[in-house]
Amino acid sequence: MRDEQEVNRAIERYADTVRRLCMIHLKNYHDTEDIFQTVFLKYVLSSVVFENEEHEKAWLIRVTVNACKDLLKSFFHSRTTTLDELITQTEELSPEHSEVLEAVLSLPAKYRDVVYLYYYEEYSAAEISRIIGKNVNTVYTLLARARKLLGERLGGDWNG
C-alpha cells in the first residue's frame, strides 16, 4: 500500500486529468465521485512501481477509462447515457468552450478518449495505443474519423 503523502500528491497532480476523463464519459457528479474513489483506491493498493511520472500518468488514465466503462456497464447503473445529460455539465462555461466540449461529447464514446488524449494531453497515436490498449492502426482510424466529425461540427481544418 502506498503511503498517504504519495497518494495525496498523486491526487493533487492527476485529479484534473481524471476529472476531464470523467466528464467525457459520465453523466453526473455522483458517478464522477464514484470513479475518483475507485481509481485512487486502486492507486493506493496497487503494487506497480512507476518508472517515472509519465508511466504513472498513463497508468492512471488507463485505470480511469476502464473504470468509467465498468461503471456504465455495471448492474447498478442505468443503461443509457444521453447526450443531453452529458451536455448539462458544460452549461456553466463560455459559449466557445461549451461548443468545443459539446462537439467532443457528441462523438461516439470510443472516439472521445482518443480525441482528448491526442489534442489535449498531446500523446502520440502510438502512446495512446499503449495507454488504452488498442492497436495503433485502430487509433489512427479513430482519430481520422473523429477529425472528420469534429470538422463537420465545428468547421475548419482539424488535420494534425
Partner: protein, 273 residues
C-alpha cells in the same frame, strides 16, 4: 488548425477537479485503509469480525440471536436466490433455487456481509447483468417494521436503476414456495401470473426469467381486449373472478399480504394500490 487545437486546450482547461472533490476522495481513502495502516486482508477481517461478534454474543448469551433469521431477501433475475438476514442486518444463510442461482452463490461469498453489500456483490455478477434483465427483490419477514426498513434501504440504493423492482412479500407463502422448489420472489410472481392464466403451473414458471414472467403478466393484463375472438369474453370474466378471489385470500391470510410495487411502468395496469 492551430486555433482549433488552442480552442480545444482552453476548453478542457476549464474542466477542473474542485478542492471539495479532492478532499472527499482523500478522506474516503483514509477511511478505507484505516488511516493508511497495514491491516488484515479483507477476507480475514470479515472472519475476525464475525469471531468477535460471536464471542461477544456467546459471552452475553446472545448466540442464538445472531443466527436467528428475521428476514428473507429473495433475489430473482434468472438466478433465483434467497438470503437469510438476521437482526443485525447480516446475511446468515444463502439458498439457491436453480442452476444459475447455484453458480452465482458458488462464485460470490456473501455470508456475514451486510445485506446491502451482499446485494451489491450479487448484482455485480455477469449472470445478473444480461441485456434485458429484470431484477425482482422481494423482502419477507416476521417483523413488519424491519421488512419495511430493509425495503426502504433497498429502494434507495436501487432508486435510479430502471430494471430493479423491490417488493414486500407475504411470509405466509414461504412454505408453499419452497415446497415447489421456488424462491419466494418467484413464487409471488407465479401467483400473479396464475391469477391471469389459471392454467400455468409452477414447473413452467420455474424455468422462466423474471423478465419473461413479467412480460407474460403485462401481456395478459394489458392486452386482455386483444385476445382471440373465441376466448376474449371468457378470459375477461375469468380474470375478474380470479382477481376477486385472490384479493379475498390475501386479506384473509393474516394481514401480512401487502404488496408494495416500485417502478415498472410496463406492468402498472395490474394490482393498482
Amino acid at each position: 488548425m492551430d486555433e482549433h487545437r488552442n480552442a480545444f486546450r482552453e476548453s478542457f482547461e476549464q474542466i477542473r477537479a474542485d478542492d471539495a472533490l479532492k478532499e472527499r476522495t482523500k478522506a474516503y481513502l483514509s477511511g478505507k485503509t484505516n488511516g493508511y495502516r497495514h491491516s488484515l486482508p479483507r477476507p480475514y477481517r470479515r472472519v475476525a469480525l464475525v469471531a468477535c461478534l460471536v464471542l461477544l454474543l456467546l459471552a452475553g448469551g446472545g448466540y442464538s440471536s445472531f443466527f436467528t433469521q428475521t428476514t428473507t431477501i429473495s433475489v430473482d433475475v434468472n438466478p433465483s436466490v434467497e438470503l437469510g438476514i438476521n437482526r443485525y442486518d447480516r446475511v446468515i444463510s444463502v439458498r439457491a433455487f436453480n442452476e444459475d442461482g447455484n453458480e452465482l452463490l458458488a462464485t460470490k461469498n456473501i455470508r456475514f456481509l451486510d445485506y446491502r453489500e451482499a446485494l451489491r456483490e450479487l448484482l455485480g455478477a455477469e449472470s445478473m447483468t444480461a441485456e434485458d434483465a429484470l431484477v425482482d427483490i422481494t423482502v419477507f419477514g416476521t417483523n413488519d417494521e424491519k421488512s419495511d426498513e430493509i425495503l426502504k434501504n433497498l429502494e434507495n440504493s436501487t432508486a435510479h436503476y430502471d430494471n430493479v423492482h423491490c417488493f414486500i412479500g407475504s411470509s405466509e407463502m414461504v412454505g408453499d414456495a419452497h415446497s415447489h422448489g421456488m424462491s419466494c420472489g418467484k413464487y409471488q410472481a407465479f401467483l400473479e401470473l396464475q391469477e391471469l392464466d389459471p392454467s400455468v403451473t409452477p414447473e413452467e414458471v420455474q424455468n422462466l426469467t423474471m423478465r419473461q414472467i413479467r412480460d407474460r403478466i403485462s401481456e395478459l393484463s394489458g392486452g386482455a381486449e386483444d385476445n382471440t375472438p373465441a376466448g376474449s369474453k371468457k378470459h375477461e370474466t375469468e380474470h375478474n373472478n380470479v382477481q376477486t378471489s385472490s384479493t379475498e385470500s390475501t386479506e384473509g391470510s393474516g394481514g401480512n399480504g401487502k404488496k408494495h410495487r416500485y417502478g415498472g411502468g410496463h406492468h402498472g395496469g395490474h394490482h393498482d394500490e
